[in-house]
Subunit: 465 residues, 4 copies
Amino acid sequence: MTTWGGRFTGKMDEAFERFNRSFPIDQRLILEDIEGSLAYAEALESIAVLTPPELKQIVNGLNQLKDRVKKAPSFLEESNDEDVHTFVETQLVEIIGKTGLKLHTGRSRNDQIALDTRLFLKRALIEVQGQVKQLMIELVNLASNNSELVIPGFTHLRKAQPILFAHYLLAYFEMFFRDHQRFQDCFRRTNCLPLGAGALAGSGFPINREALRKKLGFAQITHNSLDAVSDRDYLVDFVSASSLTLVHLSRLAEDFIIYSAPEFGWIELSDCVTTGSSLMPQKKNPDSLELIRGKSARVIGNLTQLLIILKGLPLTYNKDLQEDKEILFDTLDTLLDCLNITQVILRTLQVNPSAAHRALEEGFLNATDLADYLVRKGLPFREAHELVGRIVLNCENQRIKLPDLPLDDYQHFSVLFEEDIFQILSVQSSIEAHSVHGGTSPSRVAKALSDAKEILTKLSSSDHP
Amino acid sequence: MTTWGGRFTGKMDEAFERFNRSFPIDQRLILEDIEGSLAYAEALESIAVLTPPELKQIVNGLNQLKDRVKKAPSFLEESNDEDVHTFVETQLVEIIGKTGLKLHTGRSRNDQIALDTRLFLKRALIEVQGQVKQLMIELVNLASNNSELVIPGFTHLRKAQPILFAHYLLAYFEMFFRDHQRFQDCFRRTNCLPLGAGALAGSGFPINREALRKKLGFAQITHNSLDAVSDRDYLVDFVSASSLTLVHLSRLAEDFIIYSAPEFGWIELSDCVTTGSSLMPQKKNPDSLELIRGKSARVIGNLTQLLIILKGLPLTYNKDLQEDKEILFDTLDTLLDCLNITQVILRTLQVNPSAAHRALEEGFLNATDLADYLVRKGLPFREAHELVGRIVLNCENQRIKLPDLPLDDYQHFSVLFEEDIFQILSVQSSIEAHSVHGGTSPSRVAKALSDAKEILTKLSSSDHP
Amino acid sequence: MTTWGGRFTGKMDEAFERFNRSFPIDQRLILEDIEGSLAYAEALESIAVLTPPELKQIVNGLNQLKDRVKKAPSFLEESNDEDVHTFVETQLVEIIGKTGLKLHTGRSRNDQIALDTRLFLKRALIEVQGQVKQLMIELVNLASNNSELVIPGFTHLRKAQPILFAHYLLAYFEMFFRDHQRFQDCFRRTNCLPLGAGALAGSGFPINREALRKKLGFAQITHNSLDAVSDRDYLVDFVSASSLTLVHLSRLAEDFIIYSAPEFGWIELSDCVTTGSSLMPQKKNPDSLELIRGKSARVIGNLTQLLIILKGLPLTYNKDLQEDKEILFDTLDTLLDCLNITQVILRTLQVNPSAAHRALEEGFLNATDLADYLVRKGLPFREAHELVGRIVLNCENQRIKLPDLPLDDYQHFSVLFEEDIFQILSVQSSIEAHSVHGGTSPSRVAKALSDAKEILTKLSSSDHP
Amino acid sequence: MTTWGGRFTGKMDEAFERFNRSFPIDQRLILEDIEGSLAYAEALESIAVLTPPELKQIVNGLNQLKDRVKKAPSFLEESNDEDVHTFVETQLVEIIGKTGLKLHTGRSRNDQIALDTRLFLKRALIEVQGQVKQLMIELVNLASNNSELVIPGFTHLRKAQPILFAHYLLAYFEMFFRDHQRFQDCFRRTNCLPLGAGALAGSGFPINREALRKKLGFAQITHNSLDAVSDRDYLVDFVSASSLTLVHLSRLAEDFIIYSAPEFGWIELSDCVTTGSSLMPQKKNPDSLELIRGKSARVIGNLTQLLIILKGLPLTYNKDLQEDKEILFDTLDTLLDCLNITQVILRTLQVNPSAAHRALEEGFLNATDLADYLVRKGLPFREAHELVGRIVLNCENQRIKLPDLPLDDYQHFSVLFEEDIFQILSVQSSIEAHSVHGGTSPSRVAKALSDAKEILTKLSSSDHP
């Protein structure tokens, strides 16, 4: 079934009909389509395109349809309608008769799909933000429960300096907090009513768009009808923000794959998020993390696809845009899944302090502290750096650690060394030395943790008031 | 159901179980999985891991399963097995009992999925090549049926020189012929048996891989087990070749959207591949072409996704690779759809010679012929070009065409002009002048058309002998 | 020259040294690097790592270097230093001697490059926003100068309904206004001081980061040192926003390539932004628009590249991130060029009202108005749509336009038709009918134009106060 | 300077002139452009467009130019010509005078740039294949020099089974061998002469394209002029093949970053391909590997960009295509650099057998061997797998290894266990058990190594004969 046909003589090719149909995909927007139609019917009544009884009929019909969809959606599968708009109109006419044929007055599928998508995305964004926040809570919980654990910090996947595990987790808190805000920006931009734009030139009937806006809960209305029907920026914003969130998730996944490998081993994944091998009985594989890493590629692929579709597309609506729905749905589902699974991973994670402890002993993580010591004794940093580099090389050749080198040997390198160097070589001394704002010292991290909790409290009350 | 579990104490998280399950996707490989298992059972029997009666039992069981899948595949939906391999093993055990538990000896899902995918892709490629060839046939048919139609040739979407419509169509013949060959290369690379690689180190049992190769119809066997289970190059080859084919289809789509616009108008799309507007009664929109153009983005997105998954992935198998199946299936389906719809479009296309004729009159398409005339009279080309540029500007200002300019005026520009110039300014003269190999002169195009037909004949007999 | 080496015995491979060197690229950040170093020297003095005389020396040295860079930057080419940070330190030591070796105390190239990039990007964003605003001004100017021109509005590259050219231009105003705001969001996120994060764990010296923030003009400081050195979200935000801006530019380019083609022809590009052919003397090609369209691909490619680099990257800094600079610079340069050239195109564009006029006569752009007429007479829209579709088909077969069909014939289709239909079939009547907010009616567009001018006034005063 | 202008009255906008100029990029094709022009001049002479003396003049002029370019290319920087074709023509006229103005007869920059690019790419491909082969040689050398070293093989970055290091290296040999062949396919497709296609319709002069083909060393000529000037498939082939090669390099890089981390540690990178930290004196970072991994993103970004440019581009030449040159050059340079640096890394790599030895002791890598043992005793594999899983769990809880579990305990799990199990639990026994073709057993790997050497010998003689 289609909503057009008067000017056509030939019949649609069957293969093309299947190719062209979007109902298998866009039926996911059916509640939004009905909601928009309910509001639109009122708007038509208020300009006398519909009589009050006609409005009542249409409202009843749409509500019946909505109920049926909610209760037993399987009947959607039986339809061969072209798209969700056609389906709703067809069903309405079936329920209430010819009055239903008046509903599309002054409206086009072009402004209708823009409305449906924005309504859907607004709800999706609230769900996404909720999940991002939940993930932030899990990070804070894990950090709070392991607030004293020190692990090696890495650059270039080589041990660099000791850091608090809580400090490490709060780095991801920062990323996801930015993501939360980015989704908020995205919500703000989506929160704009396109209905009334008609096919492209504005509705041919003097619809009260401001009343529609209030009814449908938008903050603003679009200001240009051509833009309103061809704009998909809000989708780009969403898929782009989702890509970045998945990049963050993929980095956490990569870290955790590595840190939970027995060679590192200061975290262990729960059995509940790992799988085995069909062949090798001993395997316990971090599939959950690998899938999250892999799925980040999926959303980046979606972003690429969306930008390619839009690039060079002439104004206004073109059918290429039909592909946007699968991108939206697939991105949303993937994102929610990955956010959720990461929460489960964090919630069930075990830490292994003794592995962390062992890891901090090897690798000269205190070399910078030694150089800083020399700076405090007056040596220019660049010279201190060079000198400590040579001490490290010396120790490495002897296969000893910095605390194992006798004071005499130190003094052989520089007369600035005194008995007090051995104090600054401890892990505890090292992390306490990094006490700037944002640093890993215990007091800073404790404060950062309490700041994070405060942010979470505010997020609860402030977003989407 | 999973094929592992002995070393696990905790239960899988439910959300993770859904996230991890690939059966909803990879069940599409079930016939390939059974085929591989049938061959593998024979291989196990030939090294006495299975007794002849056990082999018979397994073969019977697998054949029963195959029949059931072919007849009533809906029972696959009821399973909650982890993946297609688990499903086949579980079903087999259900049908024949404990003997089924022997089938996975010396085999891993890692080499099994590589086998299934290669078997599937080989078949898919034959179908794709068939569709590409069919498209080439439609191009040749359309060219043959309109062998004398001259249209404007474009560069920069500005009229350049007259060309035969058949010559234009044969340009796409060349592209799709290259695509056909590229899929052939892809077939050659896919045609390599990975089974026997085990999880990564090679099977722990002395499987006769050469016998397996013959049985399963591969041209070669893989030479390194680590590579065999982590290699997805054949998928990259396929998605990459598909991207290029879709780029070609998108260029044809773009051309046809433009050429069938009433402003150009020398082709008209059949009603059967166009759609109307829900609001604007007069519209006849080239949705088929727009969708093809849009879907090219989808396959490029898939390629991007696949390369991102593979980039930086450590050896050997990692779960990220599970995402490859959706990429393969979606690319294949999209490609086949677009190849098919383009055939319908070509088959039902109408040409409009009078629109083409009118289009050739405006736009100075013969300006180069005029410059070439001067060259033949001895003027260096660069000067001829400059001079004709000025003549064109002069005509444009007078709003006349080149044949309308009096000889006197021509001679005012250059004494080289003589009465014979008016002959070379005709469309026919122009196309005949381009008689180099590959050029648009009628005789060259006739020859090219007959060469194309010969290629098509050879394609029938030579590929996949 | 490098800033490390004490623990190394082997020499760097020459090919690797070239491969590893970033100075040819990151030297573009030299002024930011010096600015950051000046502020950092003060910070070191305030915690007594430097004495006041040492600070003075360093400040003098850095200022000398800055002057030299500004006056004769060619000496940068002679250096073989590893990167811009090494270059500045080396030069400083050359100018002021050993005191320069103290500057890197408690600082790492990891927080330093984050600082330099953020300083650079903040300035770049102000320039970008200025150019976007300038482009918005050109759109408004062109719209104001052609406020009464009516052109065909398109969907699916098929004529849909008449629209004001000014309305069309304001659709792009909306897009670029959103872009301007998106760059503002990007600025806000970039405006955060990372210096003090050290290599990853926070500086080992109690640097006053709040004082640094004020000195360097940032709105905030980063809260987590690990995040501070591995975060490139602000670059993703920038390249992502740039991609979308270029998508908008590419759509304008595509429209203009088509609208300025002689077949459409209601705009004409100035000679100053077109080029000719080396072979075909008549050609006047829209190269400027084609290049903009082509360059949008470049920035989308950059976005893809950046996301791929970040995906799955373990914390914290990894050398992969070095590639971010070329992405930033190339994106910025491409974006600024395309914004600038589009302004030139708009500024020098000619309109061709008679071509627009002719274009409006063909194509049944008033068919929807006819259907709306029937709705006002009481016919349900869907029936009116169907009926007008058949009238259009009838006219098309007769090769006449809607106003040419006699009233009798209209009444043959429906008795609702009366003499007044001929009034609603005019272009003027059609555009006036679309008088909703956002619609194309002259009064709405006049108001939209004045709103746009007001937005531009506010943009001048409000951004970056 | 441009090669057109007669029909233009306005001057080019200065900013647009810079934006439009490709000479800064395409000057890299100057030798190819001259080579093509030399051949083309002969072709013109053979159809009497040039006299023999004119030909001689032109040949002399072009050769002079070639010499100057080779000796002192810096004069190219001083030109403000539009592109390399214009530059060569301008210079030729400067050297030999007006005869130079005849060279462009019947030729367009459209077929000329296609020629130049194909000539360039053919040479580039030979260089690339040479580097790929060199890399294969390094892999074989490293494998030969460490033919007995056993390391853990990984799936999911978890220890799986013991493998020979040589077997591991030969997995990459397979990948790069496929790459070598893919570049060969690419060469074959590139090896096709486009010259004579003119602007789009074929040359207007009866150029002997077959003679040109021989002269310029192509295997074939293009068969359709429209395709010849708009086809960039050979570039897609090249960038696509390069992406895959870089994906392979990135996987090797990722493996080596991990394997050379002290936590794994069975390989160590030479000082000559690592760098230090400006702050942390102890650091030795694998920057070479990280850069290679990062640069793979660059080439994938290039591929995305190229496909986006081509997608939906109308026939034939459009200026968007100008962007293809930077993609080609950047991809080539990046690829060659990464191939070269990887060779250096392999050549200077140290292995650490004791670290490998330690790594093999932990992680139950022999669990599958134990299951296979039970299979040989008659237990169905799936049950053996389950049972060994439980044994592993038991050992893990006791913190012992499989060889440490007493026979009694084994027999407690299954009566099938006998004294001989302890033999199959050794590393040597495990690798020897994987003796299928492609497996990791020492004899198979020795054979694979000798096969690899033979392939290398053949590569020397067979490619590009």
